[in-house]
């Protein structure tokens, strides 16, 4: 097992508030790691630190590059993305005014480095179109490929979100509540999609999720964050039977 993403003593403070408090984690290649924790535990801030949206107060983030781990601490989001970290958002963040195909194509263009090509037609590269088609097939979006995204249902938008993350062919996928707001059928589909990708292309996933079924179902490993720090870390069986975790989730109900 090689480490593809590593944080060391990562810390983020907003004024008095310590949102992330010295998190050290090493994510292994081809694993699906779930990060869970109650609201306000620092999951979103942790994600923002990993992806370069926020600069950490202290600590480092390293990503697997061609020659071992590369320090990307404090790099802007687009560089982190290029270094191989792709994210999907908890609150859907896609290019609403464009069609599904255009959305995916843009991600593919970004990966391709043809961003500065301003004279050929965006849809003229057969290799790229084939790739885009493949991603659409893989994510089951082919039928609605030409629909503008602002006319999609919530579940479809979530899927586009994942398709975008997928299209830049990253080393690590960060998924912030990929099933949020989906109905059971859609959830099942997303879960099997993640598992499929994990098995077929050995993709590494870091997932936050509220739905414990999903967590139990897909995780190779679970990390529990509470108050900005790692409360528990291990296999699903270990973590889900940890008393501290139960407490953290149940709050006063445990008493």
């Amino acid at each position: 097992m090689t480490t593809v993403l590593e944080t060391e003593e990562l810390r983020k403070q907003f004024g008095e508030l310590v949102a992330v408090d010295g998190v050290s984690l090493a994510i292994d290649d081809a694993d699906i790691t779930s990060i869970i924790g109650p609201n306000g535990a620092g999951k979103t801030t942790f994600y923002n630190l990993l992806t370069g949206v926020l600069k950490p107060t202290a600590g480092t983030v390293r990503l697997k590059g061609d020659d071992g781990l590369v320090d990307v601490t404090g790099a802007p989001p687009h560089e982190v993305a290029k270094a191989g970290l792709s994210r999907s958002y908890q609150i859907t963040n896609i290019f609403e005014g464009l069609t599904v195909r255009e959305n995916v194509r843009i991600a593919r263009i970004s990966r391709d480095g043809s961003r500065m090509d301003f004279l050929s037609r965006a849809d003229s590269d057969p290799d790229m179109e084939a790739d885009v088609g493949e991603i659409l097939t893989l994510t089951g979006l082919t039928d609605i490929a030409e629909t503008p995204c602002d006319q999609l249902s919530h579940g479809q938008k979530r899927t586009v979100e994942i398709a975008l993350a997928l299209a830049i062919d990253p080393n690590v996928f960060l998924m912030d509540e990929p099933t949020a707001g989906m109905n059971p059928t859609e959830t099942t589909e997303i879960v099997s999609l993640i598992r499929e990708l994990n098995e077929e292309i050995d993709a590494t996933f870091v997932v936050t999720e509220h739905d414990m079924d999903v967590v139990r179902d897909i995780s190779d490993r679970i990390v529990v964050l509470a108050d900005g720090a790692v409360l528990a870390d291990g296999t699903p069986t270990e973590v889900l039977n940890d008393e501290r975790v139960t407490e953290a989730y149940l709050g006063s109900e445990g008493q």
């Binding site: 792709s86 609403e96 970004s110 965006a122």
Partner: protein, 364 residues
């Protein structure tokens, strides 16, 4: 427009027959537009002038909209690049005209000079746009609008100060295109029809290029940035850098428009850099509809022809600002997505055709 015949002739013939046989096809419409544009040259002389000016303003607005409609950045200082184009041409013609005449001989000198002046003018614009854009794209939304306004006005005051005597201060610089002798005939470069065809050729090519750009991978990324800059960044797109590149491209096309204006109006005026001139592109774009490729063109048409229409009626002309202001307000209030949007909605009502608010014109 004319020239290299043989290969194109068969192509044109095929195109023409397709146009005639297939009903309201794209070919047929294009052919009609092309015929209309050529026929325009034989309209009354003033209409040729006005239409030439319209083409220039349309290019101005199209260049502006590359940055606004496609990348989401509202510039209030594109007059700077318009002035860059007009002054570039004026200065080259004034200071290098004689030198060039010495080199190439006086016969074709005006043509060579003007061509060279256009190229140099556009280069000057790009050289100005590089640092101005680099600084400006660090900001977004209203702040971007304000910093571009400030840069535009800095350019305006620079021109007024007449540094080293190159800009001739408030008077601006006269632009005299001269004439060439072809087969014993004296052909004036500034001749209405000739200059119309020249402008038409350049504006049509530039418009086609902009159309290609917005439909290119580069343009797709622009649209992505417009929709969601942070999402674009998360996909590995350097948003700031991409905006910078768009800024430069946008300035380049505006510079071409400015250069053409210098030739048409025969003067490079400091007011080309003034914010009120920058506002022309903004207003034309808003009137036409920023989300449509053709929006700025339609907007420029309305802008210029309404102003002209008003001037034809003394009672209106005496208070044209009143009517123009009222028109602006009416368009903004009653045409939510610009005149093009309004037209498409009308078409939808009449023919039941499907219309989407974005990209109607840009992908068809």
């Amino acid at each position: 427009m004319s020239g290299d015949e043989d290969g194109t002739r068969t192509g044109l013939a095929a195109f023409g027959s397709a146009a005639v046989t297939d009903g309201w096809t794209r070919e047929r419409i294009s052919l009609l537009v092309a015929i209309g544009l050529v026929a325009m040259a034989f309209a009354p002389s003033f209409q040729v002038y006005l239409f030439t000016e319209f083409l220039i303003i349309a290019l101005f607005a199209l260049g502006f909209n590359l940055l606004y409609g496609y990348t989401g950045l509202l510039s209030f200082g594109h007059g700077l690049f318009f002035a860059g184009g007009s002054y570039g041409v004026a200065i080259v013609l004034r200071d290098l005209g004689p030198v060039i005449a010495d080199v190439v001989g006086s016969g074709i000198a005006p043509v060579v000079t003007f061509a060279l002046a256009m190229v140099i003018a556009v280069m000057i614009v790009v050289v100005v746009a590089i640092p101005v854009g680099w600084l400006s794209v660090r900001l977004e939304e209203i702040y971007f609008a304000l910093i571009t306004l400030a840069f535009g006005m800095l350019g305006f005051s620079f021109i007024l100060q007449n540094p080293g005597g190159i800009t001739n201060g408030t008077d601006g610089i006269l632009v005299l295109l001269g004439s060439v002798e072809i087969g014993g005939m004296d052909v004036r470069l500034g001749d209405r029809q000739l200059y119309y065809f020249l402008t038409l050729g350049i504006v049509a090519s530039a418009t086609y290029t902009i159309w290609r750009i917005v439909n290119s991978p580069f343009g797709a990324v622009c649209k992505a940035i417009r929709e969601s800059p942070d999402r674009a960044a998360a996909l590995g797109i350097d948003v700031t850098h991409h905006r910078w590149m768009t800024f430069i491209l946008s300035a380049l096309f505006v510079g071409i428009a400015g250069a053409l204006m210098a030739g048409l109006a025969s003067v490079a005026s400091p007011y080309h850099a003034h914010w009120t001139n920058s506002a022309t592109a903004v207003v034309a774009t808003v009137i036409g509809g920023a989300t449509f490729f053709a929006g700025p063109i339609v907007g420029a048409f309305i802008y210029l022809y309404v102003r002209w229409g008003i001037s034809r009626f003394p009672a209106l002309e005496a208070h044209w600002e009143l009517f123009f202001g009222a028109l602006l307000i009416a368009v903004v209030l009653y045409f939510k997505i610009g005149a093009v949007g309004g037209l498409l909605l009308l078409r939808e009502r009449l023919f039941g055709a499907e219309t989407s608010t974005d990209g109607g014109g840009e992908t068809e």
